[in-house]
């Protein structure tokens, strides 16, 4: 089935809401179109763990009743997939861990609550790697079934790319939103650490975990962020910083954005991917961006080393009790993370945190003369399915708590999507979205995969 045969699945959130307001389509139409698309393509892609067909249709019917009364919500009737590490009251949350296959938490994560309050239709749960970590899950890349969709938000990225839903929720501790988004050719965003509540989300490494969003337009990123951002007194990591008008920012083209390239990441980038990135930066410059080369303090490998240590130690701590009881149920690479994390001393962990703090201060100084940093989102196109890909290029934004967006930037020589990563200072999501909108406007759309 192609997208053209079923136009509703190709709509962005903004388009779908506009058509509902005009009475051209209903929320029920949107859910039925998504379910039909899933029925047509998910047997080959494996993006979903659970679908809530009856619940989604009932919610859509309620939105349609509201629409007839002229009442519309910000995400009115929009079908959305939620990564299966977010707790959901009406659906099990397995987190990719077999012993939790039937786990019913009985509560909704804060993100799920906010989506429902905003009128979104939770269509179901998308595939995650085990506990949002590293062992590949069953999902295939919609552009090439022999390649990974990336992880850990594998199902969310594949579902958005394959037009099953216009948006999905992911999470990122290393690169688990931006990398699968880039590999699958969709937009992805993780906001500043603490900007979106993580209440009701299985943790992996508490000082690195972020909620994230995947869509097919920058405008939709802004709209979703405007719904999800805000302080949550029940999340100890939640930020109190004011919430800007992200929906408006995402519709506003940045004028002559000042962009800094982290030029010393070239050594870790595949040659053809770096050539692609340089071609993208030329396009941005020709469109009015002011682009400078900068150096990432200490280089990328040191940041990745700091991230690796902190993530493995915190994962070992998070999973200590469960791992002691159910060691054999853990996937092999996550088991390796946990066991190696157990061997790191307290002094070594704190040295990593000291260096993290220092790197954050040094990186924030880079923003004095620029609006955003830009780098390739991924070191190369999606590799084969023995791995979820290289997290090195997304991990620094997670380590430093900085907001980041990936915008599809074109294709590799073998026809796989690549992405432009844009990184902003803490809580500068409005600026980030405006620059992302500029990039989206400059870069040609990559279209949908043939399935």
């Amino acid at each position: 089935m192609t997208v053209e045969e079923n136009d509703l699945t190709g709509l962005t959130i903004h388009q779908a809401i506009a058509q509902q307001r005009q009475g051209e389509i209903s929320a029920t139409d949107l859910v039925q179109a998504s379910l039909a698309r899933i029925d047509a393509v998910d047997a080959q892609l494996g993006a979903w763990v659970t679908l809530d067909r009856a619940g989604a249709l009932a919610a859509a019917a309620e939105r349609d009743r509201e629409a007839k009364q002229g009442r519309f919500k910000p995400l009115h009737g929009i079908p959305i997939g939620v990564k299966d590490i977010y707790l959901t009251q009406s659906l099990p949350t397995a987190a990719g861990f077999p012993p939790l296959a039937d786990y019913q938490s009985g509560v909704d994560a804060a993100v799920v609550e906010r989506l429902a309050q905003a009128g979104a239709t939770i269509l179901g749960k998308t595939v995650t790697t085990q506990f949002a970590s590293v062992d590949p899950a069953k999902t295939l890349n919609p552009w090439n079934a022999t390649r990974t969709p990336g992880g850990s938000s594998s199902g969310s990225a594949a579902a958005v790319a394959a037009r099953m839903v216009p948006a999905a929720i992911g999470s990122q501790t290393g690169g688990s939103v931006l990398r699968p988004a880039a590999y699958c050719g969709v937009l992805g965003m993780k906001s500043t650490f603490g900007r979106i509540s993580l209440r009701g989300v299985f943790p992996l490494a508490w000082s690195l975990d972020h909620a994230g969003i995947m869509t097919r337009s920058v405008e939709d990123l802004g709209l979703l962020l405007s719904v999800l951002a805000g302080h949550d007194p029940n999340d100890p990591g939640s930020a109190r910083a004011p919430v800007d008008d992200y929906a408006h920012a995402a519709t506003t083209l940045a004028s002559q954005p000042r962009l800094g390239i982290l030029a010393n990441w070239q050594a870790q980038t595949q040659a053809t991917a770096w050539e692609h990135f340089r071609a993208v930066t030329r396009q941005l410059r020709e469109a009015g961006a002011i682009v400078h080369d900068l150096e990432f303090p200490g280089g990328l490998p040191r940041a990745v080393a700091i991230h690796t240590l902190i993530m493995r130690v915190e994962a070992a701590a998070v999973h200590a009790d469960r791992f002691a009881q159910q060691r054999d149920a853990y996937a092999p690479r996550l088991r390796g993370w946990i066991e190696s994390g157990q061997l790191v001393s307290g002094v070594d962990y704190l040295r990593a945190q000291q260096l993290r703090r220092q790197l954050r201060q040094q990186t924030l100084e880079l923003f004095h003369d620029i609006d955003c940093l830009i780098v390739p989102t991924v070191s190369g196109p999606a590799p084969d399915r023995s791995t979820t890909g290289d997290a090195s290029f997304q991990a620094p934004a997670s380590l430093l708590g900085l907001p980041a967006v990936t915008v599809p930037s074109g294709f590799s020589a073998d026809g796989l999507p690549l992405g432009l990563q844009i990184i902003a200072p803490p809580f500068a999501e409005a600026r980030l979205l405006s620059v992302a909108r500029f990039a989206e406007n400059v870069l040609p759309p990559i279209g949908a995969p043939s399935l």
Partner: protein, 65 residues
């Protein structure tokens, strides 16, 4: 600040793994142990200014809440 030489760091981690998990599991963990040893080597090669020992030293993220 002192630190084990890089070659000794892997040996020390392997020894810890041996005590914690036994020989068979330590052998299986070898790639992970090498990643940890390499990361620690990079961390202990870096210099840390005194400012890094601040009360909110843990992540540096707290000041931006």
């Amino acid at each position: 600040m002192t630190s084990p030489a890089p070659t000794n760091r892997l040996s020390r981690i392997q020894l810890s793994a041996l005590h914690a998990f036994g020989a068979e599991r330590t052998a299986a963990l070898q790639p992970d142990l090498e990643i940890i040893a390499q990361a620690l080597t990079m961390l202990w090669q870096a210099e840390i200014p005194w400012q890094a020992n601040a009360p909110d030293f843990l992540t540096g993220l707290e000041a931006h809440r």
